[in-house]
Point group: C2
Chain length 333, copies 2
């Protein structure tokens, strides 16, 4: 290339420099075209879109590679909860400035996760903004025709299951913001680091997607708080649920903070950013689901049961007493 062609626009050179190596799918055309090609391979395509904003979903001094990972992973979490296998994603990046010290680790983290979750970059747009950094991802997954799992479909008697542990991320955010819950951990920096890591880098349960597809009657990911998200699943399914609160899986530091009274169960079940899968498993599928989860290496816990009715889900303590919750969800508005 000679002459004026050697002076591409800032956006073109930014994409080529940082993101071209992530575009491993032939349908991405090396990010040199105006659009990408997505082949369905005779399957249904599941589409999800989630954005994260500086100061709202991540903090301005979070490491750039963790910001990139979170932007992709919150979408991978949605795909997994729908039973879908990742197929690729497109990225919109709104930046104030183009700084190598931020973009290089951002692109590296994104690229590592694209490989780890077999979800290549298909295309994107970079725009200039005078405001906070924002990363919007639209991710695609594939399911065999008609096999996407919905919020609706849960029936009375189904067992209510959640992956991983609940409440870590919201306490991780508390620690980053210097709130009391963090101080209660005293000098246990390993515990504090593990909670902060859960806030910054969600663990999408992609490995469980096939088990969800094969066995769940309904599923969604827990992103705005277990209580509120359960209420949504129940509403969509026309049922309600009874949750045995002592069965809610907690990590060691979260369990100790709860035991000491430094945090209440309310905060844990209404806090955001868990990115675990909540699903209903019919009784006669439960053993097979547990076996599949074990093979997938994803921890799952039964936390209650789906029951008939349209009232709000009940949260019961060890003595079977109703625990009133002050709030159900985290909301940005």
């Amino acid at each position: 290339m000679t002459g004026r062609n050697t002076n591409p626009s800032g956006e073109d050179s930014l994409i080529a420099r940082y993101f071209k190596s992530l575009a491993t799918d032939p349908g991405a055309f090396g990010l040199t075209d105006d659009a990408a090609l997505l082949k369905a391979h005779e399957q249904d395509l599941v589409v999800t879109t989630d954005a994260i904003v500086e100061g709202v979903h991540f903090l301005c001094d979070d490491p750039p590679d963790t910001i990139a990972r979170k932007a992709l992973r919150v979408n991978l979490s949605d795909l997994a909860s729908k039973g879908a296998t990742p197929a690729g994603f497109v990225l919109t990046l709104a930046l104030r400035t183009v700084e190598d010290s931020w973009l290089a680790p951002f692109a590296r983290g994104l690229g590592e996760d694209a490989v780890r979750f077999d979800c290549p970059l298909l295309g994107g747009d970079t725009v200039s903004t005078p405001g906070p950094v924002m990363i919007s991802v639209t991710a695609f997954g594939r399911v065999p025709g008609g096999k996407m799992i919905h919020r609706h479909g849960a029936g009375p008697g189904d067992r209510l299951v959640v992956t991983g542990t609940i409440g870590d991320a919201t306490l991780g955010l508390d620690i980053l913001k210097g709130r009391a819950a963090g101080a209660a951990l005293g000098g246990d920096t390993a515990a504090m680091d593990s909670l902060v890591e859960r806030y910054r880098v969600p663990q999408p349960r992609t490995a469980l997607s096939q088990a969800v597809r094969d066995y769940a009657s309904a599923a969604m990911d827990v992103s705005d708080g277990l209580a509120g998200d359960l209420a949504k699943l129940c509403t969509a399914s026309g049922v309600t649920a009874v949750v045995d609160v002592p069965s809610i899986p907690l990590s060691r530091p979260v369990a100790s903070l709860l035991a000491s009274g430094a945090v209440g169960i309310d905060a844990l079940v209404s806090g955001g950013d868990d990115y675990e899968i909540l699903c209903a498993i019919p009784e006669n599928q439960f053993d097979a689901f547990i076996d599949a989860a074990s093979v997938a290496g994803v921890g799952v816990s039964q936390i209650g049961t789906i029951v008939a009715g349209t009232s709000a889900p009940k949260f019961l303590d060890a003595q079977g007493r109703d625990i009133p919750l002050q709030r159900l969800s985290h909301s940005h508005f």
Copy 2:
């Protein structure tokens, strides 16, 4: 619904209130699930994503319905240039506040365009931001297998064609910003309004998508300036081009501003926001393409010829003299 279920999160109620009526495709599930379903119908899916930011791509006092239309239409323009028929879109909306006076006309404009271009809302995300409003759209189109049109593929001898008129939008922005070019139109408010409208509400050439698919060897949409975008198409195709500048289609007000010297040709061919289609048509397909464009009701103009070589495209005046261009593109970085 009773009890706690009647208190959905702010985001859920915002989506239900403003956007549910736009989600007419069965794969959108009425915006009540975590993801949408996109069926390929044995075709290839074309994916494009473009975002617009307040103060960068639109002005904060632009009417909300025009902002919505622009956000969708810049993506529809990409799809049309790839020969794709619209299939749907997902929306990410970053807002400072939830105000009915802004959201109601925004949703109305978006809904009208979704119907007009047969491109239903499939899903979305609304996030809170302390910064400028940003709208990110990922749009999907369908093409028969292997029929997507690329930037590459243009060959020597192909005729270079552009739709509509060039330069209106960049002068519309000048007018909104109170720059000299606007003043030169004097009291011709109809002309000024037409240019402002072209800036605010692009006219995606969706009607031409099939003709592009059937006849173009290469195509892209002109969004960052005709000169720069032509250079990109030529680079991707391994060719160059000769443009006959007097053949570049201009609207009446733009032609009069150029004739009076109030604007230079540089500004017109390097200004952004045209959202016209630039394509190369093989000589033996040209008549059929012109006929198809006529049937589609989209004005098209031959502005030059693709030629062998790798130097920058030449822009020639009426006497065949090279017009040196100071810049080729509009860039936000």
